[in-house]
Protein backbone atom coordinates (compact mmCIF):
# COMPACT_ATOMS: atom_id res chain seq x y z
CA UNK A 1 0.00 0.00 0.00
CA UNK A 2 2.82 2.40 0.83
CA UNK A 3 4.32 1.67 -2.59
CA UNK A 4 1.11 2.72 -4.27
CA UNK A 5 1.00 5.90 -2.24
CA UNK A 6 4.40 7.00 -3.42
CA UNK A 7 3.83 5.98 -7.02
CA UNK A 8 1.09 8.35 -8.10
CA UNK A 9 0.79 11.45 -5.95
CA UNK A 10 -0.95 13.37 -8.74
CA UNK A 11 -3.95 11.03 -8.80
CA UNK A 12 -4.12 11.11 -4.99
CA UNK A 13 -4.28 14.91 -5.05
CA UNK A 14 -7.22 14.68 -7.39
CA UNK A 15 -9.29 12.57 -4.97
CA UNK A 16 -12.79 13.99 -4.60
CA UNK A 17 -14.84 14.28 -1.42
CA UNK A 18 -16.97 11.34 -2.59
CA UNK A 19 -13.84 9.24 -2.96
CA UNK A 20 -12.69 10.12 0.56
CA UNK A 21 -16.14 8.99 1.72
CA UNK A 22 -15.84 5.67 -0.14
CA UNK A 23 -12.43 5.00 1.39
CA UNK A 24 -13.75 5.97 4.84
CA UNK A 25 -16.59 3.48 4.35
CA UNK A 26 -14.05 0.83 3.31
CA UNK A 27 -12.14 1.52 6.54
CA UNK A 28 -15.30 0.60 8.48
CA UNK A 29 -14.56 -3.03 7.56
CA UNK A 30 -10.83 -3.09 8.39
CA UNK A 31 -10.23 -6.11 10.60
CA UNK A 32 -13.76 -7.47 10.11
CA UNK A 33 -12.55 -10.78 8.65
CA UNK A 34 -14.94 -13.45 7.37
CA UNK A 35 -18.32 -11.86 8.07
CA UNK A 36 -21.23 -10.59 6.00
CA UNK A 37 -20.96 -6.93 5.00
CA UNK A 38 -24.37 -5.32 4.52
CA UNK A 39 -24.10 -1.81 3.11
CA UNK A 40 -27.44 -0.14 2.41
CA UNK A 41 -26.53 2.65 -0.04
CA UNK A 42 -24.12 3.25 -2.93
CA UNK A 43 -21.19 4.92 -1.12
CA UNK A 44 -21.27 2.34 1.68
CA UNK A 45 -21.58 -0.44 -0.88
CA UNK A 46 -18.57 0.89 -2.80
CA UNK A 47 -16.69 1.01 0.51
CA UNK A 48 -17.45 -2.64 1.29
CA UNK A 49 -16.42 -3.76 -2.18
CA UNK A 50 -13.25 -1.65 -2.05
CA UNK A 51 -12.35 -3.20 1.32
CA UNK A 52 -12.83 -6.66 -0.18
CA UNK A 53 -10.63 -5.86 -3.16
CA UNK A 54 -7.86 -4.53 -0.90
CA UNK A 55 -7.42 -5.29 2.80
CA UNK A 56 -10.45 -7.52 3.67
CA UNK A 57 -10.57 -10.25 1.01
CA UNK A 58 -12.63 -12.63 3.17
CA UNK A 59 -15.69 -10.34 3.48
CA UNK A 60 -18.98 -11.80 2.23
CA UNK A 61 -21.06 -9.50 0.05
CA UNK A 62 -24.48 -10.06 -1.52
CA UNK A 63 -26.31 -8.83 -4.59
CA UNK A 64 -28.98 -7.15 -2.44
CA UNK A 65 -31.47 -9.93 -3.23
CA UNK A 66 -30.45 -13.36 -2.00
CA UNK A 67 -27.15 -14.36 -3.60
CA UNK A 68 -23.64 -14.17 -2.16
CA UNK A 69 -21.20 -12.83 -4.75
CA UNK A 70 -18.01 -14.77 -5.46
CA UNK A 71 -16.55 -11.84 -7.38
CA UNK A 72 -16.50 -8.15 -6.58
CA UNK A 73 -18.46 -6.63 -9.47
CA UNK A 74 -19.03 -2.93 -10.12
CA UNK A 75 -21.98 -1.26 -8.40
CA UNK A 76 -25.24 -2.19 -10.10
CA UNK A 77 -23.77 -5.34 -11.63
CA UNK A 78 -23.87 -8.94 -10.51
CA UNK A 79 -21.34 -11.66 -11.20
CA UNK A 80 -20.37 -15.16 -10.22
CA UNK A 81 -21.96 -16.34 -7.00
CA UNK A 82 -20.70 -18.44 -4.12
CA UNK A 83 -23.79 -18.95 -2.00
CA UNK A 84 -27.43 -18.31 -1.11
CA UNK A 85 -28.65 -15.86 1.51
CA UNK A 86 -32.44 -15.45 1.47
CA UNK A 87 -33.98 -13.05 3.98
CA UNK A 88 -34.71 -15.84 6.43
CA UNK A 89 -31.03 -16.75 6.59
CA UNK A 90 -30.07 -13.09 6.96
CA UNK A 91 -31.92 -13.07 10.29
CA UNK A 92 -29.93 -16.12 11.37
CA UNK A 93 -26.72 -14.27 10.51
CA UNK A 94 -27.92 -11.20 12.41
CA UNK A 95 -28.55 -13.32 15.51
CA UNK A 96 -25.15 -15.04 15.14
CA UNK A 97 -23.34 -11.70 15.18
CA UNK A 98 -21.28 -12.46 12.04
CA UNK A 99 -22.36 -9.30 10.22
CA UNK A 100 -21.51 -5.60 9.97
CA UNK A 101 -24.29 -3.43 8.62
CA UNK A 102 -23.91 0.13 7.32
CA UNK A 103 -27.33 1.73 7.58
CA UNK A 104 -28.55 5.19 6.68
CA UNK A 105 -30.24 7.43 9.22
CA UNK A 106 -32.87 10.15 9.24
CA UNK A 107 -31.70 11.11 12.73
CA UNK A 108 -28.74 10.21 14.98
CA UNK A 109 -28.12 11.60 18.45
CA UNK A 110 -24.87 11.98 20.39
CA UNK A 111 -25.32 8.54 22.04
CA UNK A 112 -25.74 6.77 18.69
CA UNK A 113 -29.50 6.31 18.78
CA UNK A 114 -30.78 6.24 15.20
CA UNK A 115 -34.16 6.82 13.59
CA UNK A 116 -35.33 5.66 10.18
CA UNK A 117 -38.93 4.96 11.19
CA UNK A 118 -40.95 8.19 11.23
CA UNK A 119 -40.93 11.77 12.55
CA UNK A 120 -43.27 12.80 15.34
CA UNK A 121 -45.45 10.83 17.78
CA UNK A 122 -45.36 7.02 17.44
CA UNK A 123 -49.04 6.46 16.62
CA UNK A 124 -49.61 9.71 14.75
CA UNK A 125 -46.38 10.73 13.02
CA UNK A 126 -45.92 13.90 10.99
CA UNK A 127 -43.87 12.03 8.39
CA UNK A 128 -43.68 8.30 7.76
CA UNK A 129 -40.47 6.66 6.54
CA UNK A 130 -39.68 2.90 6.48
CA UNK A 131 -40.42 1.83 10.04
CA UNK A 132 -37.68 0.56 12.33
CA UNK A 133 -36.72 -2.19 9.83
CA UNK A 134 -33.84 -4.33 11.13
CA UNK A 135 -32.26 -1.54 13.16
CA UNK A 136 -33.22 -2.79 16.67
CA UNK A 137 -31.95 -6.31 15.91
CA UNK A 138 -28.86 -5.19 14.02
CA UNK A 139 -27.63 -2.85 16.73
CA UNK A 140 -28.13 -5.27 19.61
CA UNK A 141 -26.57 -8.22 17.79
CA UNK A 142 -23.58 -7.06 15.78
CA UNK A 143 -21.37 -4.24 14.58
CA UNK A 144 -23.36 -1.37 13.08
CA UNK A 145 -22.10 1.74 11.31
CA UNK A 146 -23.94 4.62 9.69
CA UNK A 147 -23.36 6.47 6.44
CA UNK A 148 -24.88 9.95 6.14
CA UNK A 149 -24.34 11.71 2.81
CA UNK A 150 -25.51 15.10 4.03
CA UNK A 151 -24.23 15.96 7.51
CA UNK A 152 -26.64 18.48 9.04
CA UNK A 153 -28.09 19.44 12.40
CA UNK A 154 -31.42 18.05 11.15
CA UNK A 155 -29.84 14.58 11.10
CA UNK A 156 -27.49 15.05 14.05
CA UNK A 157 -29.85 16.53 16.62
CA UNK A 158 -30.31 16.57 20.38
CA UNK A 159 -32.55 13.50 20.32
CA UNK A 160 -34.23 11.17 17.84
CA UNK A 161 -38.02 10.90 17.51
CA UNK A 162 -38.17 7.09 17.36
CA UNK A 163 -35.26 4.97 18.60
CA UNK A 164 -34.82 2.40 15.82
CA UNK A 165 -31.09 1.68 16.13
CA UNK A 166 -30.11 1.46 19.79
CA UNK A 167 -27.54 3.92 21.21
CA UNK A 168 -25.11 3.56 24.11
CA UNK A 169 -27.30 5.35 26.67
CA UNK A 170 -29.84 2.52 26.36
CA UNK A 171 -27.39 -0.17 27.45
CA UNK A 172 -28.26 -2.03 30.66
CA UNK A 173 -24.87 -3.23 31.94
CA UNK A 174 -26.56 -5.85 34.12
CA UNK A 175 -28.15 -7.45 31.06
CA UNK A 176 -25.67 -9.48 28.95
CA UNK A 177 -28.05 -9.19 25.98
CA UNK A 178 -26.61 -5.69 25.46
CA UNK A 179 -22.96 -6.81 25.49
CA UNK A 180 -22.60 -6.92 21.70
CA UNK A 181 -23.82 -3.36 21.06
CA UNK A 182 -21.12 -1.85 18.85
CA UNK A 183 -21.86 1.38 17.00
CA UNK A 184 -18.55 1.26 15.22
CA UNK A 185 -18.39 4.31 12.94
CA UNK A 186 -20.41 7.15 11.51
CA UNK A 187 -19.10 8.28 8.14
CA UNK A 188 -20.51 11.50 6.67
CA UNK A 189 -19.65 13.86 3.85
CA UNK A 190 -17.72 15.90 6.45
CA UNK A 191 -15.76 13.30 8.38
CA UNK A 192 -15.46 10.07 10.31
CA UNK A 193 -16.80 9.64 13.85
CA UNK A 194 -17.17 7.01 16.55
CA UNK A 195 -18.64 6.92 20.05
CA UNK A 196 -15.39 7.12 21.98
CA UNK A 197 -16.26 10.49 23.53
CA UNK A 198 -17.16 10.91 27.24
CA UNK A 199 -19.82 8.33 28.26
CA UNK A 200 -19.82 6.80 24.77
CA UNK A 201 -20.78 10.02 22.99
CA UNK A 202 -19.93 10.94 19.40
CA UNK A 203 -16.31 11.81 18.76
CA UNK A 204 -14.55 13.04 15.63
CA UNK A 205 -11.89 10.64 14.37
CA UNK A 206 -11.00 12.60 11.24
CA UNK A 207 -12.32 15.36 9.00
CA UNK A 208 -12.18 15.18 5.22
CA UNK A 209 -9.76 17.63 3.52
CA UNK A 210 -11.26 21.11 3.28
CA UNK A 211 -13.65 20.54 6.20
CA UNK A 212 -13.12 22.68 9.30
CA UNK A 213 -14.06 21.91 12.89
CA UNK A 214 -16.36 24.95 12.75
CA UNK A 215 -18.23 23.53 9.76
CA UNK A 216 -18.88 20.27 11.62
CA UNK A 217 -19.92 22.11 14.79
CA UNK A 218 -22.33 24.33 12.83
CA UNK A 219 -23.93 21.29 11.23
CA UNK A 220 -24.27 19.19 14.37
CA UNK A 221 -26.94 19.80 17.02
CA UNK A 222 -24.76 18.62 19.90
CA UNK A 223 -21.15 18.91 20.99
CA UNK A 224 -18.80 16.55 19.19
CA UNK A 225 -15.84 15.32 21.22
CA UNK A 226 -12.34 15.61 19.81
CA UNK A 227 -13.34 18.02 17.09
CA UNK A 228 -10.49 20.48 17.58
CA UNK A 229 -7.85 17.75 17.45
CA UNK A 230 -9.27 15.63 14.65
CA UNK A 231 -6.70 14.88 11.96
CA UNK A 232 -7.40 14.86 8.25
CA UNK A 233 -9.01 11.69 6.85
CA UNK A 234 -6.35 9.49 5.27
CA UNK A 235 -5.80 9.91 1.56
CA UNK A 236 -7.03 7.26 -0.83
CA UNK A 237 -4.11 5.35 -2.29
CA UNK A 238 -3.52 5.35 -6.02
CA UNK A 239 -4.67 1.71 -6.09
CA UNK A 240 -7.88 2.62 -4.27
CA UNK A 241 -8.60 5.53 -6.61
CA UNK A 242 -8.05 3.35 -9.61
CA UNK A 243 -10.34 0.63 -8.20
CA UNK A 244 -13.08 3.16 -7.42
CA UNK A 245 -12.85 5.01 -10.74
CA UNK A 246 -12.06 2.26 -13.21
CA UNK A 247 -13.43 -0.91 -11.64
CA UNK A 248 -16.20 -0.37 -9.07
CA UNK A 249 -17.90 2.85 -10.12
CA UNK A 250 -16.96 3.93 -13.64
CA UNK A 251 -20.31 5.74 -13.99
CA UNK A 252 -19.68 7.96 -10.97
CA UNK A 253 -22.75 6.92 -8.95
CA UNK A 254 -20.82 7.98 -5.82
CA UNK A 255 -21.17 11.59 -6.90
CA UNK A 256 -24.96 11.45 -6.61
CA UNK A 257 -24.71 10.88 -2.85
CA UNK A 258 -21.93 13.37 -2.15
CA UNK A 259 -21.78 16.75 -3.80
Amino acid sequence: MSTAETQAPESTEAATRAEYCVVSCAEIFRGAGEIMASPMSPVALLGARLARLTFEPDLLITDGEALILADTPPIGKTGAIEGWMPFRKVFDVVASGRRHVVMGANQIDRHGNQNLSAFGPLQHPTRQMFGVRGAPGNTINHATSYWVGRHSSRVFGESVDIVSGVGYDKVDPDNPAFDDLNIHRVVTNLGVFDFGGPDHTMRALSLHPGVTAEEVAENTGFEVAGLADAPETRQPTAEELSLIRDVLDPKGIRNREVK
Binding site: L122, Q123, Q128, F130, R133, P176, A177
Partner: protein, 297 residues
Amino acid sequence: MPTDKTSTLDDVIGELRDGMTIGIGGWGSRRKPMALVRALARSDVEDLTVVTYGGPDLGLLCAAGKVRRAYYGFVSLDSAPFYDPWFSKARTNGEIEVREMDEGMVKCGLEAAAARLPFLPIRAGLGSDVLKFWEGELKTVESPYPDPDGRTQTLIAMPALKLDAAFVHLDLADAHGNAAYTGVDPYFDDLYCAAAERRYLETDQLVSTEVLVKSVPHQRLLLNRMNVDRVVHTPNGAHFTFAGDYGRDERFQQFYVASAKDPEAWKAFSRRFLEVDEQTYQREVAAWQDDQKEDGQ
Protein backbone atom coordinates in the same frame (compact mmCIF):
# COMPACT_ATOMS: atom_id res chain seq x y z
CA MET B 1 -57.22 -38.73 -4.40
CA PRO B 2 -56.58 -35.76 -2.07
CA THR B 3 -59.12 -32.95 -1.99
CA ASP B 4 -59.32 -30.58 -4.95
CA LYS B 5 -58.98 -27.14 -3.32
CA THR B 6 -59.24 -24.97 -6.39
CA SER B 7 -61.41 -21.99 -5.55
CA THR B 8 -62.32 -18.52 -6.69
CA LEU B 9 -61.24 -15.27 -5.09
CA ASP B 10 -64.86 -14.85 -3.96
CA ASP B 11 -64.75 -18.26 -2.23
CA VAL B 12 -61.81 -17.01 -0.16
CA ILE B 13 -63.29 -13.61 0.65
CA GLY B 14 -66.56 -15.32 1.64
CA GLU B 15 -64.74 -17.07 4.49
CA LEU B 16 -63.33 -13.86 5.96
CA ARG B 17 -65.01 -11.89 8.73
CA ASP B 18 -64.71 -8.39 10.15
CA GLY B 19 -61.99 -8.02 12.76
CA MET B 20 -59.84 -10.92 11.56
CA THR B 21 -56.05 -10.99 11.67
CA ILE B 22 -54.63 -11.57 8.18
CA GLY B 23 -50.99 -12.43 7.48
CA ILE B 24 -49.71 -11.54 4.01
CA GLY B 25 -46.68 -13.34 2.54
CA GLY B 26 -43.93 -12.00 0.30
CA TRP B 27 -41.61 -9.14 1.26
CA GLY B 28 -41.94 -5.41 0.50
CA SER B 29 -42.89 -5.26 -3.17
CA ARG B 30 -41.82 -8.85 -3.82
CA ARG B 31 -44.15 -11.79 -4.59
CA LYS B 32 -47.14 -10.30 -2.81
CA PRO B 33 -50.50 -12.11 -3.12
CA MET B 34 -51.96 -9.02 -4.76
CA ALA B 35 -54.96 -10.73 -6.41
CA LEU B 36 -56.16 -11.79 -2.95
CA VAL B 37 -55.31 -8.34 -1.55
CA ARG B 38 -57.27 -6.60 -4.34
CA ALA B 39 -60.23 -8.92 -3.73
CA LEU B 40 -60.14 -8.12 -0.02
CA ALA B 41 -59.83 -4.39 -0.72
CA ARG B 42 -63.03 -4.37 -2.80
CA SER B 43 -64.97 -6.61 -0.36
CA ASP B 44 -67.13 -5.40 2.53
CA VAL B 45 -64.88 -7.06 5.14
CA GLU B 46 -63.36 -4.45 7.46
CA ASP B 47 -61.68 -3.69 10.79
CA LEU B 48 -58.74 -5.95 9.97
CA THR B 49 -55.44 -6.55 11.69
CA VAL B 50 -52.65 -7.09 9.14
CA VAL B 51 -49.32 -8.85 9.75
CA THR B 52 -46.80 -8.28 6.97
CA TYR B 53 -43.32 -7.60 5.70
CA GLY B 54 -45.13 -4.65 4.25
CA GLY B 55 -45.35 -3.17 0.79
CA PRO B 56 -48.23 -2.11 -1.46
CA ASP B 57 -50.34 -4.92 0.07
CA LEU B 58 -50.72 -2.92 3.26
CA GLY B 59 -50.93 0.29 1.22
CA LEU B 60 -53.91 -0.88 -0.85
CA LEU B 61 -55.73 -2.17 2.22
CA CYS B 62 -55.14 1.20 3.94
CA ALA B 63 -56.42 3.00 0.83
CA ALA B 64 -59.60 0.92 1.06
CA GLY B 65 -60.01 1.74 4.76
CA LYS B 66 -59.82 -1.93 5.78
CA VAL B 67 -57.06 -1.71 8.37
CA ARG B 68 -57.54 -1.10 12.07
CA ARG B 69 -54.18 -2.42 13.21
CA ALA B 70 -50.91 -3.33 11.53
CA TYR B 71 -48.02 -5.48 12.74
CA TYR B 72 -44.90 -4.96 10.60
CA GLY B 73 -41.15 -4.36 10.63
CA PHE B 74 -41.21 -1.99 7.69
CA VAL B 75 -43.34 -0.87 4.77
CA SER B 76 -41.42 -0.36 1.54
CA LEU B 77 -41.98 -0.40 -2.21
CA ASP B 78 -38.36 -1.63 -2.56
CA SER B 79 -37.57 0.83 -5.36
CA ALA B 80 -37.92 4.59 -5.80
CA PRO B 81 -39.97 6.33 -4.44
CA PHE B 82 -39.81 3.65 -1.68
CA TYR B 83 -42.46 4.94 0.74
CA ASP B 84 -45.98 3.61 0.22
CA PRO B 85 -48.32 6.63 -0.10
CA TRP B 86 -51.45 5.09 1.47
CA PHE B 87 -49.69 3.56 4.44
CA SER B 88 -48.05 6.96 5.00
CA LYS B 89 -51.42 8.71 4.86
CA ALA B 90 -53.02 6.24 7.25
CA ARG B 91 -50.15 6.80 9.68
CA THR B 92 -49.91 10.57 9.46
CA ASN B 93 -53.71 10.86 9.75
CA GLY B 94 -53.61 8.63 12.84
CA GLU B 95 -56.12 6.26 11.22
CA ILE B 96 -54.44 2.98 12.18
CA GLU B 97 -52.92 1.61 15.35
CA VAL B 98 -49.55 0.01 14.72
CA ARG B 99 -47.35 -2.51 16.43
CA GLU B 100 -44.07 -1.72 14.71
CA MET B 101 -41.18 -4.06 15.43
CA ASP B 102 -37.81 -5.27 14.27
CA GLU B 103 -37.97 -7.38 11.08
CA GLY B 104 -36.57 -10.39 12.90
CA MET B 105 -39.35 -10.11 15.49
CA VAL B 106 -41.97 -10.72 12.78
CA LYS B 107 -40.30 -14.03 11.89
CA CYS B 108 -39.94 -14.87 15.59
CA GLY B 109 -43.64 -14.21 16.29
CA LEU B 110 -44.74 -16.32 13.33
CA GLU B 111 -42.42 -19.14 14.46
CA ALA B 112 -43.95 -19.02 17.94
CA ALA B 113 -47.45 -19.25 16.46
CA ALA B 114 -46.41 -22.07 14.12
CA ALA B 115 -44.98 -24.04 17.07
CA ARG B 116 -48.05 -23.31 19.26
CA LEU B 117 -45.89 -21.50 21.78
CA PRO B 118 -47.07 -18.35 23.62
CA PHE B 119 -43.80 -16.56 22.82
CA LEU B 120 -40.19 -17.00 21.76
CA PRO B 121 -37.28 -15.05 23.23
CA ILE B 122 -35.27 -12.67 21.02
CA ARG B 123 -32.75 -9.90 21.64
CA ALA B 124 -34.17 -7.59 18.96
CA GLY B 125 -36.29 -4.78 20.35
CA LEU B 126 -34.38 -4.32 23.62
CA GLY B 127 -33.40 -0.70 24.19
CA SER B 128 -35.41 0.54 21.19
CA ASP B 129 -38.78 2.30 20.94
CA VAL B 130 -40.42 -0.94 19.75
CA LEU B 131 -41.59 -1.47 23.34
CA LYS B 132 -43.31 1.94 23.28
CA PHE B 133 -45.06 1.13 19.99
CA TRP B 134 -46.64 -1.89 21.69
CA GLU B 135 -48.04 0.17 24.57
CA GLY B 136 -47.52 -2.48 27.23
CA GLU B 137 -48.46 -5.47 25.07
CA LEU B 138 -44.83 -6.50 24.55
CA LYS B 139 -43.12 -8.04 27.59
CA THR B 140 -39.64 -9.15 28.45
CA VAL B 141 -38.60 -12.48 29.95
CA GLU B 142 -35.69 -13.34 32.22
CA SER B 143 -33.63 -16.38 31.31
CA PRO B 144 -33.83 -19.21 33.87
CA TYR B 145 -30.20 -19.97 33.00
CA PRO B 146 -27.60 -17.54 34.35
CA ASP B 147 -24.65 -16.60 32.13
CA PRO B 148 -21.18 -17.91 33.16
CA ASP B 149 -20.37 -14.53 34.75
CA GLY B 150 -23.43 -14.73 37.01
CA ARG B 151 -25.50 -12.12 35.22
CA THR B 152 -28.90 -13.05 33.78
CA GLN B 153 -30.16 -12.24 30.31
CA THR B 154 -33.42 -10.37 29.96
CA LEU B 155 -34.89 -10.77 26.48
CA ILE B 156 -37.93 -9.68 24.50
CA ALA B 157 -40.70 -12.28 24.86
CA MET B 158 -42.00 -12.05 21.30
CA PRO B 159 -45.66 -13.06 21.44
CA ALA B 160 -47.03 -15.57 18.93
CA LEU B 161 -48.44 -13.80 15.87
CA LYS B 162 -51.48 -16.04 15.49
CA LEU B 163 -53.26 -15.50 12.21
CA ASP B 164 -56.90 -16.13 11.37
CA ALA B 165 -55.92 -16.28 7.71
CA ALA B 166 -52.76 -16.26 5.59
CA PHE B 167 -52.49 -15.05 1.98
CA VAL B 168 -49.49 -16.22 -0.07
CA HIS B 169 -48.48 -16.16 -3.74
CA LEU B 170 -46.47 -19.06 -5.14
CA ASP B 171 -45.30 -19.36 -8.73
CA LEU B 172 -46.79 -22.78 -9.39
CA ALA B 173 -49.07 -25.14 -7.52
CA ASP B 174 -51.31 -28.17 -7.89
CA ALA B 175 -55.01 -28.33 -7.03
CA HIS B 176 -54.29 -29.82 -3.61
CA GLY B 177 -52.09 -27.02 -2.29
CA ASN B 178 -48.60 -28.34 -2.98
CA ALA B 179 -46.66 -25.36 -4.30
CA ALA B 180 -43.23 -24.14 -5.38
CA TYR B 181 -41.40 -20.86 -5.77
CA THR B 182 -39.17 -20.32 -8.81
CA GLY B 183 -37.55 -17.05 -7.76
CA VAL B 184 -34.47 -16.68 -5.61
CA ASP B 185 -36.10 -16.32 -2.17
CA PRO B 186 -38.85 -18.34 -0.44
CA TYR B 187 -39.53 -15.37 1.87
CA PHE B 188 -41.65 -16.52 4.83
CA ASP B 189 -44.69 -17.88 3.03
CA ASP B 190 -44.57 -21.35 4.60
CA LEU B 191 -44.28 -19.73 8.03
CA TYR B 192 -47.34 -17.53 7.41
CA CYS B 193 -49.31 -20.65 6.47
CA ALA B 194 -48.01 -22.54 9.51
CA ALA B 195 -49.12 -19.67 11.79
CA ALA B 196 -52.66 -19.43 10.36
CA GLU B 197 -56.03 -21.09 10.92
CA ARG B 198 -57.05 -20.73 7.26
CA ARG B 199 -54.41 -20.77 4.50
CA TYR B 200 -55.09 -19.23 1.09
CA LEU B 201 -52.73 -19.73 -1.83
CA GLU B 202 -52.85 -17.87 -5.12
CA THR B 203 -50.68 -19.11 -7.97
CA ASP B 204 -49.60 -18.05 -11.44
CA GLN B 205 -49.62 -21.60 -12.81
CA LEU B 206 -52.01 -24.34 -11.75
CA VAL B 207 -50.55 -27.69 -12.85
CA SER B 208 -50.85 -31.37 -12.08
CA THR B 209 -48.88 -32.77 -9.16
CA GLU B 210 -46.75 -34.69 -11.64
CA VAL B 211 -45.86 -31.57 -13.61
CA LEU B 212 -45.27 -29.59 -10.41
CA VAL B 213 -42.68 -31.97 -8.99
CA LYS B 214 -40.94 -32.32 -12.37
CA SER B 215 -40.83 -28.57 -12.98
CA VAL B 216 -38.59 -27.60 -10.09
CA PRO B 217 -35.83 -29.05 -7.92
CA HIS B 218 -37.58 -30.68 -4.96
CA GLN B 219 -36.14 -28.15 -2.53
CA ARG B 220 -38.34 -25.49 -4.14
CA LEU B 221 -41.54 -27.26 -3.03
CA LEU B 222 -42.13 -24.79 -0.22
CA LEU B 223 -45.74 -25.64 0.66
CA ASN B 224 -47.38 -29.02 1.03
CA ARG B 225 -51.12 -29.54 0.97
CA MET B 226 -51.67 -29.96 4.72
CA ASN B 227 -50.80 -26.27 5.11
CA VAL B 228 -53.16 -24.97 2.41
CA ASP B 229 -56.97 -24.73 2.47
CA ARG B 230 -57.75 -23.10 -0.85
CA VAL B 231 -55.89 -22.67 -4.15
CA VAL B 232 -56.80 -19.82 -6.51
CA HIS B 233 -55.43 -19.70 -10.05
CA THR B 234 -54.41 -16.05 -10.60
CA PRO B 235 -52.03 -15.60 -13.56
CA ASN B 236 -49.92 -12.47 -13.03
CA GLY B 237 -51.68 -12.19 -9.67
CA ALA B 238 -48.68 -10.70 -7.86
CA HIS B 239 -48.68 -7.69 -10.23
CA PHE B 240 -47.35 -4.99 -9.73
CA THR B 241 -44.91 -6.69 -7.38
CA PHE B 242 -42.57 -9.30 -8.83
CA ALA B 243 -42.90 -13.08 -8.78
CA GLY B 244 -40.79 -15.92 -10.16
CA ASP B 245 -41.68 -15.49 -13.81
CA TYR B 246 -42.12 -11.75 -14.07
CA GLY B 247 -40.40 -8.63 -12.83
CA ARG B 248 -41.85 -5.79 -10.78
CA ASP B 249 -43.88 -3.42 -12.96
CA GLU B 250 -41.89 -0.35 -11.92
CA ARG B 251 -43.82 2.03 -14.14
CA PHE B 252 -47.13 0.84 -12.79
CA GLN B 253 -45.88 1.07 -9.21
CA GLN B 254 -44.80 4.66 -9.89
CA PHE B 255 -48.22 5.29 -11.46
CA TYR B 256 -49.84 3.95 -8.26
CA VAL B 257 -47.77 6.38 -6.17
CA ALA B 258 -48.40 9.33 -8.49
CA SER B 259 -52.16 8.63 -8.56
CA ALA B 260 -52.30 8.67 -4.75
CA LYS B 261 -51.13 12.31 -4.72
CA ASP B 262 -54.29 13.71 -6.25
CA PRO B 263 -57.91 12.84 -5.32
CA GLU B 264 -59.15 13.00 -8.90
CA ALA B 265 -56.29 10.87 -10.17
CA TRP B 266 -56.92 8.35 -7.41
CA LYS B 267 -60.61 8.21 -8.25
CA ALA B 268 -59.70 7.38 -11.83
CA PHE B 269 -57.13 4.80 -10.71
CA SER B 270 -59.66 3.16 -8.38
CA ARG B 271 -62.39 3.07 -10.96
CA ARG B 272 -60.15 1.48 -13.56
CA PHE B 273 -58.04 -0.87 -11.44
CA LEU B 274 -59.57 -1.44 -7.99
CA GLU B 275 -63.36 -1.42 -8.28
CA VAL B 276 -63.16 -4.21 -10.85
CA ASP B 277 -62.74 -7.98 -10.72
CA GLU B 278 -59.35 -9.62 -11.20
CA GLN B 279 -59.90 -10.45 -14.89
CA THR B 280 -60.80 -6.84 -15.65
CA TYR B 281 -57.80 -5.67 -13.62
CA GLN B 282 -55.43 -7.81 -15.66
CA ARG B 283 -57.04 -6.67 -18.94
CA GLU B 284 -56.82 -3.00 -17.93
CA VAL B 285 -53.19 -3.41 -16.84
CA ALA B 286 -52.34 -4.93 -20.24
CA ALA B 287 -54.09 -2.02 -21.97
CA TRP B 288 -52.29 0.49 -19.73
CA GLN B 289 -48.95 -1.14 -20.54
CA ASP B 290 -49.73 -0.91 -24.27
CA ASP B 291 -50.53 2.80 -23.86
CA GLN B 292 -47.19 3.34 -22.14
CA LYS B 293 -45.36 1.67 -25.02
CA GLU B 294 -47.12 3.88 -27.55
CA ASP B 295 -46.34 6.98 -25.47
CA GLY B 296 -42.70 5.93 -25.39
CA GLN B 297 -42.42 5.72 -29.17
